[in-house]
């Protein structure tokens, strides 16, 4: 039974992927779960894994070529299996017509050959935020042979109920990636539902290294009338996110002292100002769930766990990897994790679950000598903190003037969820922590 290798949606927003490198040659034996190619998504370079056992009989895409999600890029089969029909169904791989919607052509041909089936084999489609990636090998789908499911393995149509097709399309799910549990591998409602929940569970599972995801991870707060009015009226004024900004300046003297003292104890205790800030922000967020929230339109989701996003500049643009449960982590862990995430972000090696799910974000342009700036909120989050450069400032005191290291931060707040006083209270807590950093080790 042959297994089709499709260009898979390896990020939540991926529409097409560039095959960077084949990791297996034609003729190589592969096992289900083996990486067979590296694919560049819109966010990162990811591994495409085999969904069945056999021999990689055919590679249908040359390295560096792009293919829309859902298109056949290879065939895994036994050595003597006839795969001509499968390959014919994939269109002309060597001559991709750039604007000719190759996926749709391929689908048309496959259907013609199959004789029936109106199943749209995932023509390129814009997948909205939160649309789940296909279940990966770690999904909880039954470990039946892949060939009984999405890919029937003999070039036949995908069997699926009309309801399953409708639900898959409504939820942005690629039905060809779903394992069918009905008669003859027919994909039915329960298969779509388990694929959706498996996909949704993935980021949480990744975060669960420290703490398992649980039902009490957040609380949904229904909108009060006054919140609704604030949301509506202010979005009319500055929309769609009516943002306001709170700037505060913190005394970094004790942070500086602490860093120096720690550095003296040895290299393993070295932490950056940014690490201390992140620890302080995470600690403050745990005390201010109003700020550690998502705006969901009809309600506000207050998160009980703090997943701190940190904006990282990469040659390709901004990406925000997440330090999950940052408030639960020690400063050294945050420091280590932040370095590691930043490095892999620049190498474009982040996995989707590493840059989704943040509950609050910070953006630091201090290293670029920016005094202060305003950052743009990353929805559905309701706040973001912009951090400038620490500067020596002359300040008057009872015994004359002194020079202090001071830091300006600006918090952008979504007024629909966060009022000025709420944002200010958060900054007050943050000030207390940063100006008394020993509290962070308490």
């Amino acid at each position: 039974m042959a297994t089709k290798v499709f260009m898979e949606a390896l990020s939540p927003t991926m529409e097409e992927g560039r095959l960077v490198k084949w990791l297996k040659n034609e003729g190589d034996a592969v096992k289900s779960g083996d990486p067979i190619a590296e694919v560049e998504t819109d966010k990162a370079i990811m591994e495409l894994v085999a969904r069945g056992d056999g021999i990689l009989r055919k590679r249908l895409v040359a390295e560096n070529e792009s293919r829309p999600v859902g298109q056949l890029v290879g065939v895994i089969a036994t050595a003597d299996e006839n795969i001509d029909a499968l390959i014919a169904g994939a269109g002309a791989p060597a001559a991709p017509a750039p604007e000719a919607k190759p996926a749709e052509q391929a689908v048309a041909k496959t259907q013609e050959q199959a004789g029936a089936s109106s199943v749209p084999q995932n023509a390129p489609q814009a997948q909205g935020e939160g649309s789940p990636p296909p279940p990966a090998k770690s999904s909880s789908a039954p470990a039946a042979p892949q060939t009984t499911g999405g890919s029937t393995g003999n070039g036949g149509p995908i069997r699926s109920s009309p309801l399953a097709r409708r639900l898959a399309s409504e939820r942005g799910l690629d039905i060809s990636q779903v394992q069918g549990s009905g008669p003859a591998g027919r994909i039915i409602k329960r298969d779509i539902e388990s694929a959706v929940s498996a996909a949704a569970a993935k980021p949480a599972a990744a975060a669960g290294v420290q703490r398992a995801a649980g039902a009490g991870d957040f609380e949904d707060i229904p909108l009060t009338q006054i919140r609704k009015t604030i949301a509506k009226r202010l979005a009319e004024s500055i929309g769609p996110i009516p943002t306001f900004y709170l700037t505060a300046e913190f005394d970094l003297s004790r942070v500086t002292e602490m860093r120096a003292a720690m550095a003296q104890m040895g290299d393993e205790f070295k932490v950056s100002v940014n690490d201390i800030l992140m620890k302080a922000v995470a600690t403050a967020l745990a005390q201010h769930p109003e700020v550690n929230s998502h705006w969901l339109g009809d309600k506000i989701r207050q998160h009980h766990r703090v997943h701190l996003g940190m904006a990282v500049a990469t040659p390709d643009g901004l990406i925000v990897p997440v330090i999950f449960d940052a408030d639960q982590k020690r400063m050294s862990e945050i420091s280590h994790e932040a370095k590691e995430l930043a490095k892999r972000a620049r190498e474009r090696k982040l996995k989707p679950e590493e840059y989704t799910g943040s509950t609050f974000s910070i953006s630091n342009l201090g290293m670029f000598g920016i005094d202060q700036f305003t950052a743009i909120i990353n929805p559905p989050e309701v706040s973001i903190l912009a951090i400038g450069t620490a500067q020596d400032v002359v300040v008057p005191g009872p015994d004359g003037f002194t020079v202090q290291k001071r830091l300006r931060v600006t918090m952008s707040c979504d007024h629909r969820a966060v009022d000025g006083a709420v944002g200010a209270a958060f900054l007050q807590t943050l000030r207390r922590l940063i100006e008394n950093p020993l509290m962070l080790v308490f």
């Binding site: 109920s161 009309p162 309801l163 399953a164 097709r165 409708r166 549990s181 009905g182 008669p183 039915i188 409602k189």
Partner: protein, 326 residues
Amino acid sequence: MPVITYRDALNHALREEMQRDDRVFLMGEEVAVYQGAYKVSKGLLQEFGEMRVVDTPITELGFAGVGVGAAMVGLRPIIEFMTWNFGILALDQVLNSAAKLLYMSGGQYNIPIVFRGPNGAALQLSAQHSQAFESWLAHIPGLKVVTPGTPYDAKGLLKSAIRDDNPVCFLEGEMLYNTKGEVPDEEYVVPIGQADLKREGEHCSIITNGKMVLLAMQVADQLAKDGINVDVVDLRTVRPMDVDAIRTSVEKTNRAVVLEEGWEICGIGTQVVDYIQRECFDSLDAPVIRVHQADVPMPYAKNLERAAKPDAAKTIAAVRKVMYLD
């Protein structure tokens, strides 16, 4: 609420409508002196006299035709067939006269007539006397076809049928006459063309009518023991059929079994399945399965008759199959 038999519910409907409107009269074999082969017309001769409760010779085509003529001149006849197996002798009057005259007279003649009698199989009455004719009658434009399965529906629908200005074929069941159910003392009618959700569940819809409603309810009880909860949609009227009720149920459960008393080919279930595939295509998670009588003349032998009829085991198997449990 009083609990009475299906037979008495029909009797009350006849009496109340005959009291309400003196144009209503009952005619058929043994309806008067013998008080009905199944005693549905008990007491009516005494109360309304022989002008309004009329015994006929064994001439179905003849007295059905007399009924159509009476309806043309303004009376509201109720024609009782001792069973619908005899009623087929009158089909020319039912199909060609009653069903067509409004159309062929250019709207001059309404035919406010009710043809009623027991339909389908009882026990060991063999091939010629065990036939369910609702799909035959429902095929004809100009007829309404009503198949009540409970005493409440029997009374309410018979009153609606008598008050209807068009021909209504009213299909009862010999095996239903002794069944009991709650029927209010107060005046009520059940509108023709309205299905009834007899039981609510979320896993599968059983769509049925007439005598099979009781079977569907038993099946639903048994399935519930295994945690399977079904909708039981009682069509009540098979023409006009309540497509909205079918759609609402199937869109909820995504699965359907259609249960009917008659044969498979061109049966009531054929029409139900057609509506489902047209109206609910994108809600279906499994093919629809039908349960019906075996495609043979009804056997006389007890064991063979049992094997030929739709029953609980067959219906449960069908539900489990559409739920992909077996």
